[in-house]
Amino acid sequence: MSVSAKDSYQKLKTAAQEKVKSLNDRPVVWVGTATCGKAAGAVDVREFFKEEIEKRGLDVRVMEIGCMGHCYAEPLVIIAKPGHPRLCYGYLDEGLTRRLVQDFLEGDDPCYEFALVALDPNDFFPTFTDFPRGVYEKKIILEDCGFIDPESIDEYIARDGYEAVAGVLEMEPEEVLRQVKASTLRGRGGAGFPAGVKWEACRKAAEKTRYVICNADEGDPGAFMDRSILESNPHLVIEGMVICAYTVEAAQGYFYIRSEYPQAVRRVNNALEQARDKGLLGNNILGSGFNFDIEVFEGSGAFVCGEGSALVSSMEGEMGVPRHKPPRLTASGFRGKPTVLNNVKTFAYVPHILRKGVEWFKNTGTEKSPGTAVFTLVGKVTNQGLVEVPMGTTLRQLIFDVGESVPNEKEFKAVQIGGPSGGCLPESVLDTPIDFDSLYDAGAIMGSGGLVVLDEDDCMVAIARYFLEFTQQESCGRCTFCRLGTKHMLDILTAITRGEGEQGSLEILQELAEDVKNGSLCNLGGTAPNPVLTTLRYFGDEYEAHIKERRCPALMCTHLVAFYIIPQKCSKLCNACVGSCPTEAIYTRDDGLKAINQEKCVKCNSCLKACPPEYNAVVKLSPPELVEERERENNK
């Protein structure tokens, strides 16, 4: 070998740093255009900036970045202007755009009144560490997400990207494996299986053709960590896969990405191409003689394909139907060959561990679950978005400090963690530390990181029903328990939410849930009952109210509630509710008060939202018979 991998890398890095530096000596506007940003109108914001800058003839670049995790404030931009700290602004619209271009880019006033946070330490404006969220958050795999251009490999390399690969290529694979094992990194797909042990099993397999697959079939409703990482920093994951491939001596890798994530697919493909161009993928990586390339496989939309054997089947052109394990994928995976299948986040930790060391990694988190946990914090929480906290942080800290609690002065009720395979945990267990084992003991699972906060307006029976409906629809249908057991459970839950629950329903539900958990062929079925089991365990009284009183305490189950306009509160002169009703169910009585025709009402909540707060005349009543009672009282 004439040139070492490290020397080859150093050349790349020097060139990348020069290129990035040359671009950043003039102002840059970074617009967050991950899918969430786009949904909030980021594409329009980007265009406003471009138009406004062009109109004023300014020398400012407008670039795109991924997701910073502050979804609640989308659309977001970061403005970097020499002489100022980088500043982040949220809730962008046309007016604010014009203002920022005019006052900050053309003038020199950073408009602090609109800034959310500064990214560099400075004397004028607070940075992330000055907010409660910054105190609890510790970013490892999200560190660069939203702060570098995901379409530019140079930015990644300039920030030490692919340095770990260069280092690894000069080590023996055994040594790399030793470090990954020593780090006790656990798989972030949900179950927390040690990555090093998995890699070792694959490496030990007699068969020499091996594969590395990145599982980005993120199907949990309410979870989008993997999408965000792939859209915001795809090279980090690619780098982790290269290291894995070198360790297990694989020559081919795959990204399995859901087709519902077109932007992630585009950005990953773009990143793969750039990596090939730089000699970081393909033949003879960094001159080391090691060959490895990656292709993208687009999943076709089946939640069950997140399960390893189903994922592999679908790549082989079959239905995504799981099979009995063992053999595990590390013995017989894609094409029957030894295969390492890890989640996006698992791969994303690997370059950090190799670059900064095992001890550095183990300094964060708990002994058995080192590192951080990444969550999508959504639902009834003020700061929605993507968060990364050290393992061992409590749920309470995550929801009330990082998420800044439940908005609108509502009462916290539960947190759903782990998606359809996870559970709903009540206030009483919020001091549970977040790690694989503690959450399991509480009845939930870490899952891949979906975390939905529920408040007093959310019905726990309806939530359990929602998740069961999801798994029932997504069941592959192969085995008896999952195909039929979840169907019966769903039928019982549906009946309960309609006030048709029977004596004994709950006992049957509990029995079925336990049997489906113990008897199913794969983990989709094995974990499907968790939302039911946890809600029965922690919120049994809500079930009872539905069955015995035909009452939904959270006023959510539409069959069990009715809308009512309180005559004493109705203003007569206001027509807000009438206009909001999509079915013309609201009419004006002879005396000018508004009333609801219950036959026509579809219980869509529009009138309740439309009624001005000074009147607050619309209420929900449960059981629905209460409406007649109220009417009778009022007619007396």
Binding site: V43, C71, S259, E316, G317, G379, G450, V452
Partner: protein
């Protein structure tokens, strides 16, 4: 379903191209079906038959896959495909209300297409924009915070407005524009 005149040739042309493009192994089945659906809009019986022939696999396996995965459809979609997100956050915050509003206004059920083939309606699992809940996709455009009144607005927009180009096309057009402008920038700088 009976194919209209010309449709058959169209389908055969696309399937032929797909069989040329991909390796004819079973592993190509999913990507092939994706490619055909992208061109034709759905998976006609004829296309499934021809792909099975091309890959030398049982036709029932192609049919099995087409009915197993959410992505594939066996009937032509509407010109505007409305997809209502039923992820947890959307569901809790009013996804179902949005879905019902579309059903009511379009007078079709989830999974159906309007008789004039303008709109089709379906639910999707999480599209990953939970903070914008409830979210609706119309073709590739993401619409956030969709209330019943917003549903009416959206339908009006699409029914009466000029034909909206999909996000992807728009993206392309804009990227092209961006390329031009950046090369201009470079030009200005060097000048």
């Amino acid at each position: 379903m009976e194919l209209a005149a010309g449709e058959k040739e169209e389908i055969l042309k696309h399937v032929g191209a797909v069989l040329e493009e991909f390796k004819t192994t079973r592993e190509s089945l999913v990507p092939m079906l994706q490619a055909v659906q992208k061109k034709v809009g759905y998976l006609p019986e004829l296309a499934m038959e021809k792909i099975a022939e091309g890959l030398d696999i049982p036709a029932v396996d192609v049919y099995g896959l087409a009915t197993f995965y959410n992505q594939f459809r066996l009937n032509p979609p509407g010109r505007y495909q409305v997809k209502v997100c039923m992820g947890t956050a959307c569901y809790m915050i009013g996804g179902k209300v949005a879905l019902e509003s579309f059903e009511r206004r379009l007078d079709i059920q989830e999974g159906e297409t309007t008789p004039d083939r303008e709109f089709s309606l379906e639910r999707v699992a999480c599209v990953g924009c939970c903070s914008m809940a409830p979210v609706v996709l119309i073709n590739d455009m993401v619409e956030g915070r969709v209330t019943p009144t917003r549903v009416d607005g959206l339908l009006l927009e699409y029914k009466d407005g000029e034909e909206k180009i999909s996000e992807e096309n728009k993206e392309e057009a804009r990227t092209k524009g961006a390329d031009n402008s950046s090369s201009n920038e470079e030009g200005e700088r060097s000048a």
